[in-house]
């Protein structure tokens, strides 16, 4: 399977505060595995119940890189809320992810 979907919210394009994220990885490379873990933890903590994550394995289907013009792996793309944002790297630096995703800390 090229994509695994973990849905925690009700609809992928649900209410305005619903987050749709795509994580591009390359099989089981160390940084890919790290990014998947970091993202899960992060979402459960900061966006509980209002996010959809799709993990896309570019080793299986490299053409999908075109959808978001992916160059480096892993890369996370925030499709919703607009505007689209990209974070390149394994998401290990929590502060950087918070700033890049423009998430205000606190509820």
């Amino acid at each position: 399977m090229a994509a695994k979907r973990t849905t925690s919210g009700k609809r992928p394009d649900g209410p305005p505060d619903h987050w749709v994220l795509h994580l591009y990885v390359a099989g089981q490379t160390p940084k890919s595995v790290a990014a998947i873990g970091n993202l899960r933890r992060f979402c459960e903590e900061v966006l509980p119940g209002r996010y959809t994550v799709e993990v896309i394995d570019l080793l299986e289907n490299p053409r999908l890189a075109r959808v978001h013009d992916i160059v480096a792996i892993p890369t996370l793309v925030r499709d919703l809320p607009q505007p689209v944002k990209k974070i390149i790297g394994d998401l290990s630096r929590r502060e950087k992810v918070l700033v890049a995703l423009d998430i205000r800390s606190g509820p």
């Binding site: 490299p62 890189a65 160059v71 480096a72 792996i73 974070i87 390149i88």
Partner: protein
Amino acid sequence: MKKASGHRLADEAQQTLDAIRGGEVDAFVVAGEGAEKVLVLSASDPPWRAIVEEMRQGAVTLTHDGTVAYCNPELSRLLGLQRRDILGHPFEAFVAEASRPVVRGFMATHEERESELELRRADGSPIPVIAARSILHDHEGVQCCLVFADLREQRIRDQLRIEKDAAEEASRMKGEFLAMASHELRTPLTAIMGWAQYAALPSEIDDATARHALQSIEQSARTLTKLVDDILDSSRLSSGRLSLQRKDVDLRVLARSVAELMGFELSARQLTLRVEGPEDPVIVHGDPERLQQVLVNLLGNAIRHSAPGGMIVIRVEEDVAVARLRVTDFGEGIEPSFLPHLFEAFRRGGSTRSHRGLGLGLWIAEQLVQAHGGSIAAQSEGKGRGATFTVELPLTPAPRR
């Protein structure tokens, strides 16, 4: 809030670099032949190397003395050499001689900069490239890193565009010429037809009117002949089918006979013509009819562009190995911007249609002079200040007897 896409790309590039430096990525998507491919780095690869290996631009790193320490596959393809024939060699060996100072300039600085230069392929042919120097810090210290983008395709595109523009211009001028030619041919024909019909009327016409009719018909016929001759000549000249019947020609005699020939046109506009020349013959080896045609065209041009009552001077000179014919008028003059186009076919000065002609006269004159191994040039101080046309022909040393 929307950012400009260039800005966004730069942002992304910066982010990618940061992630590479921070060791946060371990795979890259590279564009292969039409399809994406994922490169996974092994633990020992420096991340930049994977990118540089796959990129569509040539790249080298140089040691401080200019020796090639690294070369990517694209550069080896550009140079037409195996990598082992590039690594360890002085980089200047792969650069066209004229471009070597540019490379030395790159080596002498630690700044980032860009410049055009020419690489030299193994077969000696040059490749124009734009080169960017950037700085690379790694465990071997600071190195000079050069990246090259092939400019050949762009050059070919530029060249094609120039040729296309020229072809379009030529076709536009041909179209204009056809329109002008039919107009010019119709005018004298209408005059001939008109007078012929008038003369054929049963009513009596007096002698003076009849004479005038015949003169007009003759004049119109002469204009027609000249137009048709010009068209035939230009077709002969552009296809290179012109043959010259050469003999010794005294330019002074030529100038006087042309002055006589054009007497009617001169007096019709009350113009005074002065012919000046040395006492001794000025002899060139050429086709007398063709040289006469040149002078008729130049004089005709001077007449058309002179105000009634003005003066025109034809001057014959002899210089070292050169015979010179100058036709000077004191009429309209030539706009400096039009000077370069003066001898082009189908061009006529001025924006009005007040001047008759197909715009072939000067072009034919130049072609004929060049066929004689000579040259023609025009000079004018500008609008309203007259013009001088100078023909130079190789001088025949001394009349052989």
